[in-house]
C-alpha cells in the first residue's frame, strides 16, 4: 500500500492544467500541515495498513511546501504504520521552486526521489504551456537535483504542443536525454476542457496537432529511448538501470493506495471499520472545506464507493495493460519467456508486486475470460495488438499505442463472463 499526499496550491495555473489546484496569495501552511498529518493518520488507521511501501507528494506544486511539512507527514506515516528504510519517497518539484538548498531540505525531511516538471527545454514552448520557468532554469534545477538525488531524479516532458513539429520534438527529447539520468516520463498533451490552451485550440487561435503527427512523435520517442537503453515500462514512462517508480507501478498493478489532501483519490479496503471490499474514495476538493472537515472529523472524505468484483477486474485490466509486464496470472516463481518475441521488453519476473489476476479473480482465470476463440481478445491477438501467454495478458509494441481502442471490447468480453 502506498500513500499519496496532495499539496493543492500553485503559484500560477499552467495553460494546459485542469487539476484541482488553487492559486492563493497566502497559504496557512501550519493548518494545511496539521490537516495532512491528521488525515494521513486517520486513513492509515482505517486501512489498517501494516507497512507503507512508498509515498508520493503530488499536487499542485508540493515543492512549494516547506520541508517541515513533508517531514511531518512522513513522521505521521512512520508512526501510524511501518515505513521501511528503503521505501520510495517522491516529491514532485517545479524548476521554479527547486533550488539546491530547498531540495537539500526535502532530502533531509526524508524525500529520496524527485520528479521534476521540466515539460520542455524550449522557452517558446514553456511560454505556450504557461510555465513560470525558462529552459535554463529547468536545466539548473535538474542538475541540482541530480547532485542530491543521483539516479533518483525523473523528468516530465510534454509533446504534441500546437504547432510543434516532429523534428522539434526529437530535438527537445535529445536534449532531455543529455540531461536526465535514469527515469523519464513523456506525456502527450491532453487538451482538457476548461483550460486556456484548449480554448485557444478549439477556438482556432492555435492549430490542432494532427493525429498522425502525434503517433509519429510517440513512435520517435519510443525508438530514441529504447536506443538510449530505457525500458518502456508504462504508456508514458521509461526507466533504465531498474529505476522504475514503484509508487506509480502500484497504481497500474491495482494495489491499495491512500489519497490524502484536497481532491486526492484512493483505493483501499477500510478494514479498520470492518470493511472487506475495496473502495474508491475521493477527498473534498476545496482546501478550506477539506481542512474544516479534517479538523472536525479527522478526514475529509467526500465520496466513497464500494467497487464490485467486476469493477475491480475492469480496473486491473485497464491499468495493467498500460504496463509492459501486463496483467500477470499470479505470483510466479518461474521467469517466463516471450515465445512470440513480440513483447517489447521482458516482464519482471519474481517481482512480488506483480499484478496478480488471481488475487482479484480467484475463480475465473485469465485464460477463461480472454482465451475464448472467436472473441474480441482472440481477434486482437490475431491482429497483433495483444498477447496472451504463460506470462499473462499484455499489449504488443504496436498495441500499447492503441490501448484505448482495445479496452472497450475487452471490457465487454469481461462483462460477459
Amino acid at each position: 500500500p502506498t500513500l499519496c499526499p496532495q499539496w493543492p496550491y500553485c503559484r500560477k495555473r499552467c495553460s494546459y492544467c485542469n487539476f484541482n489546484t488553487y492559486v492563493v496569495p497566502v497559504v496557512d501552511e501550519a493548518a494545511v500541515r496539521s490537516s495532512l498529518v491528521r488525515e494521513a493518520r486517520t486513513l492509515l488507521r482505517l486501512s489498517q495498513v501494516q507497512s507503507v511501501t512508498s509515498v508520493f507528494f503530488g499536487g499542485g506544486t508540493p515543492s512549494l511546501a516547506s520541508p517541515r511539512t513533508v517531514a511531518a507527514v512522513l513522521e505521521a506515516v512512520a508512526e501510524a504504520a511501518h515505513l521501511p528504510a528503503g521505501a520510495e519517497v517522491t516529491l514532485e518539484a517545479n524548476p521554479s521552486s527547486a533550488s539546491a538548498p530547498r531540495l537539500a531540505g526535502f532530502r533531509a525531511a526524508g524525500v529520496n526521489r524527485l520528479s521534476i516538471g521540466v515539460q520542455s527545454l524550449d522557452d517558446a514552448e514553456l511560454r505556450l504551456l504557461g510555465r513560470e520557468h525558462t529552459a535554463a532554469e529547468a536545466r539548473g534545477a535538474v542538475e541540482a537535483a541530480q547532485g542530491l538525488f543521483p539516479g533518483r531524479t525523473s523528468l516530465d516532458l510534454i509533446f504534441g504542443l500546437p504547432g510543434q513539429s516532429r523534428g522539434a520534438w526529437a530535438q527537445g527529447l535529445e536534449a532531455a536525454l543529455g540531461l536526465c539520468d535514469d527515469h523519464i516520463s513523456l506525456y502527450q498533451l491532453t487538451l482538457e476542457r476548461g483550460t486556456a490552451l484548449a480554448a485557444q485550440v478549439w477556438g482556432g487561435a492555435l492549430p490542432t496537432p494532427p493525429q498522425d503527427l502525434l503517433a509519429d512523435m510517440y513512435e520517435t520517442a519510443r525508438t530514441m529511448l529504447a536506443a538510449a537503453g530505457f525500458r518502456h515500462y508504462e504508456v508514458s514512462n521509461f526507466a533504465r538501470k531498474g529505476a522504475l517508480s514503484t509508487h506509480n507501478l502500484s497504481y497500474w498493478r491495482a494495489e491499495q493506495y491512500i489519497g490524502v489532501g484536497p481532491g486526492a483519490h484512493g483505493r483501499f479496503v477500510p478494514r479498520g471499520e470492518g470493511g472487506r471490499s475495496r473502495e474508491a474514495r475521493v477527498q473534498m476538493l476545496e482546501p478550506d472545506a477539506w481542512m474544516r472537515a479534517v479538523q472536525s472529523q479527522g478526514h475529509g472524505t467526500r465520496r466513497r464507493a464500494v467497487l464490485s468484483p467486476l469493477e475491480q477486474l475492469e480496473e486491473v485490466l485497464a491499468l495493467g495493460l498500460r504496463t509492459d509486464e501486463g496483467i500477470t496470472r499470479e505470483v510466479s516463481d518461474r521467469p517466463w519467456g516471450d515465445p512470440a518475441g513480440t513483447c517489447h521488453s521482458p516482464p519482471i519476473a519474481n517481482d512480488p508486486l506483480s499484478q496478480r489476476w488471481g488475487h482479484f479473480s480467484p475463480h475465473l482465470s485469465l485464460e477463461a475470460v480472454f482465451g475464448e476463440p472467436g472473441e474480441e481478445a482472440q481477434a486482437l491477438q490475431e491482429q497483433g495488438w495483444l498477447l496472451l501467454d504463460g506470462g499473462g495478458l499484455r499489449c504488443t509494441w504496436a498495441g500499447l499505442a492503441l490501448l484505448d481502442s482495445l479496452l472497450p471490447g475487452l471490457v465487454c468480453q469481461l462483462q460477459r463472463r
Binding site: C4, F19, N20, G58, Y187, Q188, L189, T190, Q211, D212, L214, A215, Y218, V235, S236, N248, Y251, W252, Y257, G259, G263, A264, H265, G266, R267, A280, V282, E311, E314, E315, A318, L319, R322, Q383, W385, L400, A401, L402, L403, D404, S405, L406, L407, P408, G409, V411, C412, Q415
Partner: protein, 659 residues
Amino acid sequence: MAFAGRTAVWWARLRPSPVASPAWFAPWLPAGPVAGERPYSARGEEKIDMSTYPVESIRNFSIIAHVDHGKSTLADRLLEITGTISKTGRNKQVLDKLQVERERGITVKAQSASLFYSHEGVNYLLNLIDTPGHVDFSYEVSRSLSACQGVILVVDANEGIQAQTVANFYLAFEAQLAIIPVINKIDLKNADPERVEKQIEKLFDIPIDECVRISAKQGTNVEKVLQKVVEKIPPPQCNAADPLKALVFDSTFDHYRGVIANIALFGGEIQKGYKIVSAHTKKRYEVNEVGILSPDEQPTHRLYAGQVGYLIAGMKEVTEAQIGDTLFLYKQPVEPLPGFKSAKPMVFAGMYPVDQTEYNNLKSALERLTLNDSSVTVHRDSSLALGAGWRLGFLGLLHMEVFNQRLEQEYNMSVILTAPTVPYKAVLSSAKLIKEYGKEEITIINPAQFPDKLSVSEYLEPTVLGTIVTPQEYIGKIIVLCQDRRAIQKDMLYIDEHRVMLKYLFPLNEIVVDFYDALKSLSSGYASFDYEDAGYQAADLIKMDILLNGNSVEELATIVHKDKAYATGKYLCERLKDAIPRQLFEIAIQAAVGKKIIARETLKAYRKNVLAKCYGGDITRKMKLLKRQAEGKKMMRKIGNVEVPRDAFIRVLKRQTDK
C-alpha cells in the same frame, strides 16, 4: 422551416380540453351569451331555428392568403363585428388554437364559423369556411372551396402578391368562385396599396376599383368587406326539397363524442335521428346531433340546404368521415359530389424513437395523433441501426414538420426523423415481376424494393409545378438554383416593375430537402415559393449503395437520379467519414451504383489512442469513460468488421433542419 404557409391542415384537431391546455382557453366559450349581440344560446338551452335562414340569405366563403398576410387577423375581426365572439384584446388568431399554430403563425387546423350579419334590413347567415392555404393540402383546399361560392383574397399592402397568393387565386378561379380582393395592412408605414392593386390587375385581371383597402389589425374598412361578401358572393344554388346531399369538408375526433364531421348541405335537410349513408364507405349511421360552428359547436334542430355546420353520427374513426365524401339519406342515394380522392402521401420519412425503450409510448402517441389525421399513412418499419420504428407518409413537407412538432409539443416525444423521400414508380417489363406484384406499375417507397433496370421498362418520379415570386435582382441566382435542381422553366412574368413570377416544373425529390431554405437564403428572404402536384414523369433513376470496406449499408441505400448520383454519393461519403470514429484499421467509405464505385472517402486507421496520464484521479475518470465506451460498443451496428455508432446513422440520415 420549409414552406411556411398560413395554413389550415385538415387533419388533426384534438379537442383542446381546458384542463390539459389552459393556454387554449377560448374567450368565447364559457362567457355566456352576450346580450343583444348574438343569437346563440348556450349549449343545451334552446336551439337556434335554422329555417329562418333561407338559401337566398346564405353566403359561403373562405379567406385565402399568403403566409402572414393577415388571414387570421381578418377572421378575428369578422367574428368580432358580427358578435360571434366578444371584442377583447385577446382575440388573436382565435381560430388557431394549437400551440404550433400560435408559435408558427400558421393555421394547422381549420376552424369554420357561422356569422350572423344584418345588412340593409336582411339577416344574413355568413359561413366562413376556413381553408388550408398550403399546397400540401391542395386537395383539401379544393374540397373546402367546393363548399363556397366566393373567397376573400387577402394580399399584404407591403409585400404584394406572393407565390401562395398565386396558387390560392388559381384554385379559387378554377372553382369559378367570386373573388373579393382585399389589400391588408394599409396602416403600415411602407404600405403601397396602389402597387399591389396594379399587380392584382395585371396578374389576376381584376379591376383596380374592386379591391378593398383595409387594416384588419385596426379594423379599418372591415365592415366593407362584409358588405362585399353579401353583395358579390352569390347564395348557394340548392333546394331544401331535394334529397339530402352533404359534403364532408373536414372531420375531427373528440374523445367523448367520436368523429365530428363538418358538412355543407348541397340539398335537403338533416336532423337528429336521420339515417345516413357514406357514399365512400357505404356505411350507415344514425345522426345524433347537428349544429353550426360558432366556432365551437352550437347544436341546432336542423340544418337546411345551403347551410354549413357539423354532424355527429357515431363514427368511430376519422377515416369514416373522409374529406370530400358525400353523405345521403338511407335508401335515398344521390349522385356523389365530384372530386373525391383518398389522401395521397407525397413525402415519406422514417420515424424512430430516440431511445428504443420509448417505442410503446411513441406508438400510442402516433395512434392518438393520427386518430385525427387520416392523411398520414403509417407503416411499421425497422432499421438495423435505428431499431423499430415506422415509415410515415405525409401530404407534404409542412405536413411532416407540423406533425413532428405536435408530437414533440403535445406528447413530449422526441423522435428521429429521417431525410424525406418521395414515392417513385416503376413500369415493369418482367412478366415474372408483374405476376408477383399483380400489376404493371408499382410504387417504390423503400430503396430495398427498387427493381432492377433489366425488369423495368421505365422509372417514374413525381413532379410539381413550382411558383416563385421574387424581386428581380435575384432572378439570376434563382434560375441557377432551379437548373441545378433539374427544373424546367415554364413561365416568367413581371408582375410589376420590380417583381417577377417564375414557374418551374420540378422533380419533387429535388425540393423536399432543402430547396426552400436555399431559395430564402439566396434571396435574403424575399422570394416566396409554392407548388402544386404535376404528376409523374419518366426519370433515369438508379439505386445507390453505400459500402463500408465493401459491405453495403442497408439503411443508407438511396434512389437517385443518374445526374445526381455523384454529388449525392460524395455528400453521403463525406458525412459518414465525419460521423464514424477512427478504428484500428482503415475504412473505405464508398458510394456504388451496381458494381461501379462513384465516390470514395477513406477513414484512416488510428495509430495512437491511449490516455497519456493515468494516476490517482485520472483512473476514476478513465474507468467512467471506459464503462460508457463499453456500453456504446454494445449499441454499435457492425457492418463487416466496421463498428458504426447509432448516432453516426442519425447524423447521416437525419433531416438537416438548421444549416
